[in-house]
Symmetry: C2
Subunit: 189 residues, 2 copies
Amino acid sequence: MPYPSQVNAETIVQAAASLIETHGADGVSLSAVGAALGVKAPSLYRYFDNKTALLRAVNQQTAARLTSALVEATEPEPDPAAKVMAMFRAYRAFAHAHPALYSLAYLSGSPELRVGEAVADQFGAAMQGVIAELVGAERALPVLRAVWALAHGFVALELAGLFERQGGAGLDAAYDEAVVLFVGGIRLG
Amino acid sequence: MPYPSQVNAETIVQAAASLIETHGADGVSLSAVGAALGVKAPSLYRYFDNKTALLRAVNQQTAARLTSALVEATEPEPDPAAKVMAMFRAYRAFAHAHPALYSLAYLSGSPELRVGEAVADQFGAAMQGVIAELVGAERALPVLRAVWALAHGFVALELAGLFERQGGAGLDAAYDEAVVLFVGGIRLG
DNA sequence: TCTATAAAACTAATGATATTAGTCTTTACT
DNA sequence: AGTAAAGACTAATATCATTAGTTTTATAGA
């Protein structure tokens, strides 16, 4: 292999993710990503067809990381209700820890940035198991959707600054309260 | 007034909104907006400081339209629970009717596109009244946040294509089911 | 009716960015 | 040592947003 590469797809994704976290998704140009790796922008095209493909790869990494975080958070909990509660909390904690990455992955309207089916399935499968323990396998899918909607909706509105009217103070409690209300509703069936 | 203007802020916003609905938010350049009005791109700067300001105005219009739709939908319903149910349905219906506009207004991470406080307050106030009828004024705010989170989360994930694994067939029912679960939870307190 | 004025739009220019084409450089194998 | 190809670079193009400066044109007043 003549001329061993100075970068690869993985290091590029890392550099891009890092830039997104620090400078926001808008401040990330291909030359900025290249500069972070000591390389010029056109060199990146050897590893990604275009900028969209790179960002999609970043989103895939984000989705995988979120899935891991949720799995790790639910694992130690003993009973199903506690697992679901832990899952909700871990979901929001992840979004708070990586707001720019979360926004890019889940708050962008553009279909081109969508993460592939494989990753989406991995996420769904992991969560569905936890839900199924609580409500049974046959009801797991609709309940999973509702759970995901509540968690995503809350953090999305929060990150978008649409809950800021009363200051961010009450939001931790508001989230927990919403989850409790909802899990209560789930139990009723 | 010499040289009466061919455009004004309102017609520009309309043209931009129309282009966004048909070509998506990405396909909207200032020259496209200008062309739709028989004017060149730089002329738009007389009415908006920059593209961001124009898009923010579009988002304000979207938020106002959504608020109207919700108010109109809840008004005819007699009892509080029916009002809340109607509100949920109208929220999703609006997002489906104007997916690109909804996405731009509520699915964009950029803080610069955020609608102003006035519009956000108008929205909040209208909804809070309906919620207060159901759960009382003191619990209205956290419950409103939860309601909004559920509705927004569901349509956001739906519009982002993240619920597409099983086809869009079951989504209407899944939404209604989630809402019913949640309203049930609310009633418990 | 003519003309000066100011609003409003235009053309031209700049800077950033994604992307493509074509050139050069470097390492591994002979 | 010499060569071939991987891999990176420079240069060029197109598209935008944005700014500066110029031109047009309807109206108010002479």
